[in-house]
Amino acid sequence: MAEWLSSLRLRVRALLHRRQREQDLQDEVAFHLAMREEQISTSGAADARSGARRRFGSIAKIQDDVRDTWALAPRISSLFQDVRYAARMIRRGPGFALLVVLILGLGVGINAVMFSLVNAVVVRPLPFASPDRLVRVWHVPPAAQFPGATRFSVSPANYLDWRTQNGVFEQMSIYAPGRATLTGPGLEPDSVVEGIVSADFFDVLGARPLHGRYFETGEDEPGTDGVVVVSEELWQTRFGGDPGLVGRSIVVDSRPRTVIGIAPALMAFPARARLWTPLAMNAEMRATRGIHDFLVIARMKTGVPIARAQAEMDTISKRLAVQYPVDNTGWGALVVPLQDDIVGDTRTALLVLLGAVGFVMLIASANLANLLLAKTLGRSKEIAVRAALGASRRRVVQQILCETMLLGLLSGVFGLLLARGSMTAIVAYVTGTIPRSTEIDLDARVLLFTLGVSLTAGLIAGLAPAWRLTRPNIQSTLNQGLTRTATGSHDRRLRHALVVSEVALALVLLVGAGLLIRTVGTLRAVDPGFDRHNVLTAVLTLPQAKYPKQADRTRFADLVTQRVGGLPGVEAVSTIDSLPMTGGSTQPVSIEGEPVKPMSEQPEVAVRRIMPGYLRASGTRLIRGRDFTKADTADALPVVLISESMAKQFWPNQNPLGKRLTLTFRPGVVREVVGVVGDVKITGLDVLEPVAALYAPLAQNPGGPLSLVVRTTVPPKSVTPSMAALLHELDPDLPLLNVRTMDEVVGASIAQQQFAMELLGAFAALALLLAAIGIYSVLSWTVRQRVREIGIRRALGAPTRDLLRMVVVEGLKPTVWGVVLGVASALALGRLLSALIFGVTPHDITTLSSVAMIITLVGVSATLLPAYRATRVDPVIALRDEP
């Protein structure tokens, strides 16, 4: 041990004084030569110098040997030699290397991009202080009224009790995402996502402002809340990076607020928030327990496990349910790590996609292995000679792997450049579909991952040829002078195995893509219950400060719909508070004539406020009774429309028309059912159960957000400019927001599945192409190997058809095996997809069989060219070609 240590010390010293050591070595050899020369010349021989040299042998070789002795790890220097050798091989055949780098680099690039998404969304902790202690606290609603719902927004009064009664959280904050309209002299009105937050919001996150400060205690009280925090991006884009912005006043929702701080770009929480205003709760709001409108985040005390936080919240919920039975019976709480909550289902989709690009990479590596196999077989003789000269098997393997890993590394560099170049486009593509998209970048972890992928790909590609070349038939290779038939069945089996795995991998990917295509197809085919075509929608935000009275707001909505209705190409126009599939209110209802239940036991229905004409503008069916009219004013009899499923649920086998009910949040107003409308997919296309819904006229229920719904006779988007101009004329401070066709609204609700389908589809197509190349190249090789045999067959008069069949069957063998193996793997892996698919089972027979068919067809077409070549073999040439 001691010898080993002192030897290491000497080696390190040698490394540090490398130049000195080198000089010493030169001197030592020179001295030796001089002495020998002297000796030879005194003995009288002529040309003493060259005699001395001859006797000494190769100076360079001896010096190399000595250097090897001193090297830090003797093997490294032989590795350097191999790397140099590999680099030389690559330079000698740049075309081949270029092809490899293109194929592999594309694979590496896709891997790098995919991993950077996974890294930003799933792997990297949230960009806040001690993110592992951050949690979201949800309500869990009573299962009877909300079947299937486990996460529900929180009511202010319950939040305040949670906050004071718990002993597990350091801090707790309540907030809601919203939209704010920015106006100001000389500036276009603009609408941005805002966070309406309690004063300690930023403290919970442990965030630091870029400039200025965040909210202080007391700034979330009515009267002292005239402050705002803006995001770095808003500061740059809207305020030109003005260094004096902090301290200035800006107009938010027609109300002046003082900018107190600027939040860094990473502070995109709630998602895509551009500014934050305090949530000023008045006494009425603080007492609200039955209306659940807010989100809650909290920071657990150091050392508190999440299970204990959950247990504590369970205890508090039970206590509150006893204390406030009317509002809280059956309402629990759920503590979720904030990161899991934000990432949600995206995690599965991203991991599946990462697995998919891994498959693509494996196929690319297998292809490369095939190419290399063909190429290295051409070098068999060289390697056999080297082996005969005493190169150990280890050394031969090391040399081949060196070459393939160097190629892998080059591909890695190319792949990274590709990833870097496409990053902006990728981020734009995924924004809005996956969370945390602003955090996507190529960081050290992505670089490391990419390096690993490239080296592994190189390694995998090199293993097959390395294994093949070190088979103990070196002797026979030398003896036989490498005749073509000598490369034998070993190689064919090896190459077939590679093709089988390529086909199997490609099939698994295709099945995944197929299932997602069917999912999206099924979802698109779902009847939403309204006519989504030729409808334009837009959001109107009327600032409280400018339209303080409900009557002002209703009057403005009337004016807008009336004027938009007059635009050319517009057939019908109306408004709704929340468009289908974009969320909205759910409220308890009680029916006249039934015994009064506590609110927590009352059935809940979706409640939407609409203006007359909504049914026509949206294309929702009126089944019986009447639509709302202008006559349903605030002074008239309060009326409602209900959905078919609500009619069935509340008045089974009765005529619902004329029945009366009360919305619990607006007690005292008895409303009469005047019509029944068709069920609409209000919460999403993938929700199979119809959702009970109730529509009330805006005039009788003023307030809330406003979305315009415009049915057009022309392409909907073509109406946008005239609508924007009209709005500007009516109120220059109102932006026309979020202009989308109803098709886009519906499409956005399945964006996640669409995203997974598009990417998996692209990866599967790439995999199919690579597998086809694999089949083709192996078969071309086989035909070349058997050219002599084919020549003999032809010479003996074998018909062309037989030759064709021979080659095609030969080529199809590995394809068929690959299909069998792939189907088995797809069945085993299908479970992974179950979270992403809808309306099909992971073992869908249609998908499996059509994919198997596609692959087989591709397999057959990949054999055609080699088969054709086989039929063109000239027997004379084929027979003369070989010894």
Binding site: E28, H32, T69, R393
Partner: protein, 114 residues
């Protein structure tokens, strides 16, 4: 690697190292002197390959069996002189013993009758 068989060169290397250690037991010498000493001492039967000598010297130095230092040679040139270290001396003793035993044993086998 199990397949790196022991080659004749390996045997030679061990022998060469023993000869170097023995040579230096008579006092410090530079490489050329070592080669000549072995040549003369073996009654000109052994001629040391220079190509093997220097790597062996450096290997022994690295293992701490030899120490080296630069000095002026008899004819006023700068030369690298090697000498035995205590552990080199110890190694020489051990190797010499085992060599003697081995050569006696081999001799017995070669001389053995029927």
């Amino acid at each position: 690697m199990g397949d790196d068989a022991q080659t004749p060169a390996d045997l030679l290397q061990g022998t060469l190292e023993l000869l170097i250690l023995r040579t230096l037991a008579t006092g410090e010498k530079h490489g050329y002197e070592i080669a000549e000493w072995i040549h003369v001492a073996s009654a000109e039967a052994l001629s040391v390959e220079e190509g093997a000598l220097y790597p062996a010297l450096h290997r022994l130095e690295l293992r701490g069996l030899l120490a080296a230092q630069w000095d002026t040679s008899a004819n006023n040139r700068r030369a690298k002189y090697y000498r035995l270290t205590p552990s080199g001396r110890k190694r020489l003793k051990e190797t010499r013993e085992s060599w003697r035993r081995t050569s006696i044993a081999i001799n017995r086998v070669l001389e053995a009758n029927g």
